[in-house]
Subunit: 310 residues, 2 copies
């Protein structure tokens, strides 16, 4: 069985790790948001790709949700002493990834080639693909004006009220090689519990990707539980965009993308509301701690869709 997952950062990476372990090597393709990639200190940073790869490789920081475990901070300490910006913390090991990725990009190599090689060297046995090799950057439209994603997310700590989102360069972005092929042959497509506005939205905005998803085979896992995002600003964004931040609002947002929806047990009261949208609903525990949780949820999701589309 071939499965494709769409993922952003931490929540997406957790379920992606569960799926990677639930499926034979080579049966999973993870399409990762690159809308919040940015240049910092002259280096190309791909936060979501790194979170997904570090998680699959087993060396993600267990606490921070970003960066690597057993990290040191000598470079950043020196940057701080020189009066430089330290709002985006780059660890020393992590810097090696940015250095080599930047070097290869400057040689003209596509990001997808670089990610494939890095993944292999890190022992990752599933395929990780950026949504696109082209520059396409999430712009958060706020009451304080348009902000680049990291500007909004890290420097402004998600404080400005959002009024909309834009994928700059999105119109001319092409899906990375392998993305449409993986979606076309997928038996199941899993929209991971990532932020619908700034993680999954950018992936779906790359021309050709959303139309390559067969909603009958697609399932989304809600990143909002009990009216709160498990992590990050998703709930705040729903509220500022005029929607009550619930799993039902997430389901409505994905109405043309998926026909299956996974709801946390805490939100079981929303089951009929989501069913009324014409979706199959699975109610299960979706909060993920370590690998056992991730694997259990991955298997539940695969069984759920497999039951309807065997």
């Amino acid at each position: 069985m071939k499965v494709v997952a769409l993922a952003g950062g931490v929540g997406g990476a957790k379920l992606a790790e569960g799926l990677a372990n639930a499926l034979p090597a080579g049966n999973l393709t993870i399409i990762v948001n690159t809308g919040d990639d940015f240049e910092h200190f002259g280096l190309h940073i791909s936060p979501d790709l790194d979170t997904v790869c570090y998680t699959l490789a087993g060396f993600a920081s267990p606490d921070a949700g970003w960066g690597r475990a057993d990290e040191t901070w000598a470079a950043m300490d020196n940057v701080g002493r020189l009066g430089g910006p330290i709002w985006f913390r780059l660890g020393d090991r992590d810097l090696g990834t940015h250095l080599e990725r930047t070097r290869r990009l400057k040689e003209g190599q596509p990001l997808s080639d670089i990610v494939r090689d890095f993944s292999r060297l890190w022992g990752i046995q599933q395929l990780v693909l950026p949504m696109t090799d082209d520059p396409a950057r999430t712009l958060v439209q706020t009451k304080d004006g348009d902000l680049a994603f990291q500007e909004y997310f890290v420097r402004r700590r998600c404080e400005p009220a959002v009024t909309g989102f834009k994928l700059e360069g999105g119109n001319s972005a092409r899906p990375a090689p392998g993305v449409l092929e993986a979606l076309a042959r997928a038996d199941q497509i899993v929209v991971c519990p990532s932020n619908p506005w700034v993680s999954i939205g950018p992936i779906l905005s790359v021309p050709g990707i959303q139309s390559a998803i067969d909603p009958e085979k697609a399932v989304a896992v809600s990143p909002i539980i009990g009216g709160r995002a498990v992590r990050g600003p998703a709930a705040k964004m729903f509220a500022e965009m005029g929607f009550q931040p619930t799993a039902a609002a997430v389901a409505r947002q994905y109405q043309r993308v998926v026909t299956h929806f996974v709801l946390d047990t805490e939100d079981s009261v929303l089951e009929s509301e989501i069913s009324n949208l014409g979706m199959q609903v699975l109610v299960t525990r979706t909060i993920m701690g370590g690998l056992p949780d991730r694997l259990r949820l991955a298997k539940s999701v695969l069984d759920f869709v497999g039951h309807h589309h065997p």
Copy 2:
């Protein structure tokens, strides 16, 4: 008394440290070669500026002659694991310098402003100036073709026989702000024991610098002792360029730049040959270990020129 020193990497940095300690704060300006600056991993690297600044700040690596003491290598280890180039070793602390310098250069700030700020924050009490803020890169012409300096120096380990040198972009490079002013008001100008071809040569090739040097006030310290370079490929370069690699060859190379020359006791036999070029010659011990050696040589050099031009 106002003094200007011209310096490249390790040897120059040692005498510069001696001069910095021999003179009151603010009385020394060190003009540093930037001909071997290069871009690596997207970062702007200034090897000689960093060697000089790290040495003056007291945190140069005592062994390697480049980089910082108490350095860690997490970033480079990761680059190596990813199959990237590790021939130019960037330590983790050192990376902080390159990151912040690159960030500020990309904002359009001149290198000389950045160096001035870094120096101040590192507690350096003399003025360090790049020879130019403009791109001017040393090209080593060899039997294997033209090589960028680091390509020749680090990757090829100075193996290809040199046929000449070129400062690419040199014609349109302007001396960094402060360089000509410092030379104009200098009571003494010290050409440090750096490589004449690839450290001092590029500085003198920036239009306006050589003509701002009054040879009557200028002294050079030989980087070649007993027919060998104290460090690096200077002797090999002299030989390949068709000159017997001796301190006398260095003196001839500087004949239009200085009227004073400092010779190691080991080379005292060359004293009359160099005197015959019309130069005042000081014979003294020029090999420098730690700060006491550097300070002693600095004081000898200052006294020597001061004696003739009090």
